[in-house]
């Protein structure tokens, strides 16, 4: 149960798989927000008005997958870092997962990393295909990972293969 471990269950996730019935192709946001907290930047920053929280800012975000273009602006604007973007049409064998990553040093494009699931377990290799760190993101870089198809709803974090202690010391 997410209330006990912080890890959403299959049941939690069933509420947020809009892409299955989606007509539009390509990238789409996955909003993993399961608890009513007073917060609405996802709504106010979405340029397509695809996310609605409404008058009561404690309400859960309502998401319209048909309006979503997968631009990913919401990823770095969510204070809870709870938004991801997936793209099932990335390539024949691979899907794309875009995730927020506030750790240094940033990975390099082309680097192979370990894809981790929501409980931090290694679940597949993943390839870093894009590192986005613009001023508008305000120090929440977005990493795009190419993962084997079928892993796009599993991979939510990653670990670099050679993270040595030295890289952190001043």
């Amino acid at each position: 149960m997410i209330e006990k471990s912080g890890v959403p269950t299959v049941k939690d996730l069933q509420k947020i798989v809009p892409y299955i019935k989606r007509k539009r192709k390509g990238a789409v946001a996955i909003i993993e927000c399961f608890q009513e907290i007073p917060c609405n930047p996802c709504e106010t920053t979405c340029p397509k008005e695809a996310i609605k929280v409404g008058e009561d800012i404690n309400a859960l975000p309502q998401f319209d997958a048909e309006k979503c273009t997968g631009c990913g602006i919401c990823i770095a604007n969510c204070p809870g870092l709870a938004v991801f973007v997936i793209n099932l049409d990335y390539s024949k064998e691979e899907a794309l997962v875009m995730l927020p990553y506030e750790f240094l040093p940033l990975p390099k494009v082309g680097e192979i990393v370990k894809g981790l699931d929501r409980s931090g377990k290694s679940c597949c290799p993943a390839k870093v295909v894009r590192v986005l760190n613009t001023k508008a993101q305000d120090r929440t870089p977005i990493i795009s990972l190419a993962v084997p198809k079928g892993m796009e709803m599993k991979v939510r974090f990653f670990r670099r293969r050679k993270v040595c202690e030295k890289q952190y010391s001043v």
């Binding site: 997410i2 209330e3 006990k4 471990s5 912080g6 890890v7 959403p8 993993e32 927000c33 399961f34 608890q35 009513e36 907290i37 007073p38 917060c39 609405n40 930047p41 106010t44 920053t45 009561d56 800012i57 404690n58 604007n77 969510c78 204070p79 809870g80 870092l81 709870a82 506030e102 750790f103 240094l104 981790l116 699931d117 929501r118 409980s119 931090g120 377990k121 305000d138 120090r139 929440t140 939510r156 974090f157 670990r159 202690e165 952190y168 001043v170």
Partner: protein, 377 residues
């Protein structure tokens, strides 16, 4: 990461009298100063630290709330913005200055590095915040046992890592956020333990650390710290729903740091001294001063705002500060600011409308009920 912290380090000279004295330069005190300054009030803002911002200077995460409460902006940047605005408006700021006493006629004693000063004020906003709670367990006095605030200060203010392997005790927002900050600093968080059967803070914060592989263990407590000269380990144990330790479930963890994030208590000394009516309200974190919907206590002209009026969080502290500042300005300058106050109250109740607002909502209600009871007796 950029370092654009606006710091106010120079101290303004102290005037013997002021219209509004604000104790505490955190989110509540800063907002009280800014809102009262709109109406030409002569303000003196006091803080015991060497810079303004209170706990905001350690908050690296983006704030929740709505656009009006600066949602999506990191706490540290909110602190800088508010401090810069205080400076721009020429509000008198006394840093490294500790209020040590309240005397009749709104005379306040202030300890500055090597001097004792006093100041007379027409009105007072007490925005002193809170102190961290502690849990008792064998060896909790070993070096390596920290409060979460100290860990944040070490890392985020001074750039010092507190240890290499940390056990976090408490899964409220502070425990979860500080765990995340430890991970960002390259420290490993061995586990987050929580005595209650469910996570106390926002689940989004919990998920952020869970996906890095940190286990969050609910219904667990710390049995003892291990070590001679310093922390070398800890024993954690499961507890049942009656808070009893379950024998045989002990686990020994190899760690060098224990971080306690087990709640806060309002820092109310000055309010007791001023003779404010005080009530013990568990939902508000301990003893708090009775206050009306203008944040005014039972002593006319003394207002409270932020954690000292009931433990909550920075967004509501800012709004309470704003409200106290408006109410103080109203009384000092003989104005009517009902419309402005109503707007702030409206935003406060919107923030408190959800499940996380329940505790403060109930707490503030109980505070009124307790006071009504006493006045009837």
């Amino acid at each position: 990461m950029t370092d654009d912290r606006t710091q106010i380090t120079e101290v303004d000279s102290l005037e013997p009298t002021t219209e509004l004295l604000i104790i505490g330069g955190g989110p509540a005190g800063l907002m009280a100063a800014l809102s009262a300054s709109e109406y030409g009030v002569d303000i003196t803002l006091i803080d015991e630290n060497d810079r303004l911002g209170g706990q905001l200077i350690k908050q690296t995460h983006m704030f929740f709330g709505s656009h009006q409460e600066k949602a999506g902006i990191r706490g540290i940047d909110i602190g800088s913005q508010l401090s810069a605005e205080v400076k721009k408006r020429g509000i008198r700021v006394l840093l490294n200055s500790t209020v040590i006493g309240y005397y009749e006629g709104n005379q306040i004693a202030i300890l500055q590095t090597d001097r004792l000063e006093k100041i007379k004020t027409e009105a007072l906003v007490v925005a002193t915040g809170a102190a961290e709670n502690i849990v008792s367990f064998p060896n909790n006095d070993l070096p390596g046992v920290y409060g979460a605030g100290a860990v944040q200060t070490l890392m985020n203010v001074y750039g010092v890592r507190p240890g290499k392997r940390v056990l976090m005790v408490g899964s409220g927002n502070i425990g979860l956020i500080v765990s995340y900050q430890l991970l960002q600093a390259g420290v490993s968080v061995v586990a987050v333990i929580e005595a209650l059967p469910k996570i106390g803070g926002y689940l989004v914060h919990a998920s952020k650390i869970a996906r890095t592989g940190v286990p969050i263990l609910v219904s667990h407590t710390i049995k003892e710290a291990i070590g001679k000269e310093e922390v070398e380990g800890a024993v954690i144990v499961k507890i049942d729903k009656n808070w009893r330790l379950i024998a045989g479930t002990e686990k020994k963890l190899k760690i060098d740091t224990i971080c306690l994030a087990v709640g806060l208590s309002p820092l109310t000394e000055i309010l007791w001294q001023a003779g404010c009516e005080m009530y013990y309200i568990p939902e508000l974190g301990g003893h708090v001063a009775w206050h009306n919907e203008d944040m005014e206590t039972s002593v006319q002209g003394i207002y409270v705002a932020g954690d000292v009026s009931g433990i909550e969080e920075a967004s509501t502290a800012m709004l309470e500060g704003q409200l106290a500042g408006l109410a103080a300005a109203e009384s000092i300058k003989n104005l009517s600011l009902d419309k402005e106050k109503a707007q702030v109250r409206e935003r406060l109740s919107l923030l408190r409308a959800g499940p996380f607002g329940e505790k403060p909502r109930i707490g503030k209600q109980k505070l009124q009920i307790s006071a009504d009871k006493i006045s009837q007796d």
